[in-house]
Amino acid sequence: MNTAGRRIASVLAALAWTIGAGLAMAQSYGDQDQELILSAAGFRNQNLSNNPNSDGYSHGGLFRAPLPLPQGAELRQLCLFARDTASSAVTASVVAVKLVPGGGGDPAILTVPGSLVSSTHVGYGYWCTDQFSYTVRDVVDVDGDGTADAIAYYLQADLTESPTLEIGGFRVVWRRQESPPPQSPTFGDVPITDGGFALIEAMAASGITGGCGGGNYCPESHVTRRQMAVFLAKALGLHWGN
């Protein structure tokens, strides 16, 4: 067998970690569900007194942590870990906050649809939203004024009415998505009906490929080692040594 062929998967596999066959397990690349666990240490109390306890839990206030997911990531589920010594309400959500430019009006804050979880409990608790689908974008018209806004996403736990409640962290289930294709094909030989249309368009839009010349992509041509090097080095931004 072709040795190079056997190594087909090596490059991407080096980037894609997963646990055997477990679908619920996490990997960094690919389009399967994966999870991000953020502890209270990653959160900042909006009241500027971010004081996690030595066990990692944090007391009352409005806590936010940046949600560092790639453009186009699909948010699937949000879970909050917390504990309460009494019994009080807590709400958790993903919020999209408009970054207001000069002369802008009020900051607009959008609670991402489907992400809100609310509960009351004593002791340790773990609450999850229903499964939902929200695509993270860097630029969204959050306030509906017809203009795209630069957006920051935060995980938010609102403990302002819950002085006895402490957060431990969040579990965020998400996955990568391929981007929606353009309405007009970029390459003459990759029409919308092509099975690889959306994915080839994604490569072109990312600047990874300019096609094979003459407005074509040559989808049936084989990849040479030279071309492969160009594709990978461009796709991954290789290589920046120290």
Partner: protein, 254 residues
């Protein structure tokens, strides 16, 4: 669509040639991709005070609390699933006149507690902790090299149940000390193989077995139809586009 993809993947071959090129291109440390070592720096502003909030100086160094013997600061450590942590180094500065204030740096894994859970469980990662006496002035010190694979889900407390796990770096700063940050040396790893091969034509004895299994488990490939992957077949440009776009979640313009 899955039928299309299977058709698309029927032939592939030279794709793997890039392995050698990638290996050649990533000998030095510090890259974002590939499986070589790289360094993540958690500067002092990344840390939140556990006991008091340190004040940041203009030079980026953070003061400890002078009213206590020690200040605890904590930063979330966010690395991809399967990242291997290789070493932690601490950068500090003892500004008072007293030498030998001990500072402890440790990598910790914290169990996220479920309802009815017992006490919180925080594991100090074996080898991921170093205690040192920082003399007057700037200093740095590192743990011995270690090998710890970060997982977002594992049985941390050994009770037979899988836990969601968060990672963070703790700094227990000696009296009078300042800290500039912690560097974390780490690298990506390819996932461990399943017990049973997914594809009939890629047995466990195949040199690329772990890589092909990792691709399949990540949803990047479903093989070439039937129970096979066709490892020796050449790869078309269309097929390669499918691989890359699916793997990287390309491409979402603003």
């Amino acid at each position: 669509m899955s039928t299309c993809l299977q058709l698309l993947e029927r032939r592939r071959g030279l794709f793997g040639a890039a392995v050698l090129l990638l290996a050649a291109a990533s000998r030095a440390s510090g890259q974002s991709y590939g499986d070589h070592e790289q360094v993540l720096t958690l500067g002092a502003p990344s840390f939140a005070g556990v006991e008091g909030q340190a004040a940041l100086d203009a030079d980026g160094y953070a003061h400890g609390l002078f009213t206590k013997g020690r200040t605890f600061e904590r930063a979330a450590l966010i690395l991809p699933e399967g990242a291997e942590v290789l070493q932690l180094c601490f950068y500090g500065d003892d500004r008072d006149d007293h030498d030998n204030q001990s500072t402890v740096v440790s990598l910790r894994a914290a169990k996220m507690m479920l309802a009815g859970g017992g006490d919180p469980f925080v594991l100090i990662v074996p080898g991921g902790s170093v205690t040192s006496t920082v003399g007057a002035g700037f200093a740095s010190y590192c743990t011995e090299p270690l090998s710890y694979t970060m997982r977002s889900s594992l049985d941390l407390d050994g009770d037979g149940n899988s836990d969601s796990v968060a990672y963070y770096v703790d700094v227990g700063l000696g009296w009078g000390g300042r800290f500039g940050g912690v560097t974390v040396t780490w690298k990506r790893q390819v996932s461990p193989v399943p017990d049973t091969p997914t594809f009939d034509d890629v047995p466990a004895s195949d040199p690329a077995f772990p890589y092909i299994e990792a691709l399949a488990a990540s949803g990047i490939t479903v093989g070439c139809g039937g129970p096979n992957y066709c490892p020796g077949a050449p790869l078309t440009r269309r097929q390669m586009a499918v691989y890359l776009a699916k793997a990287l979640g390309l491409y979402w313009p603003n």
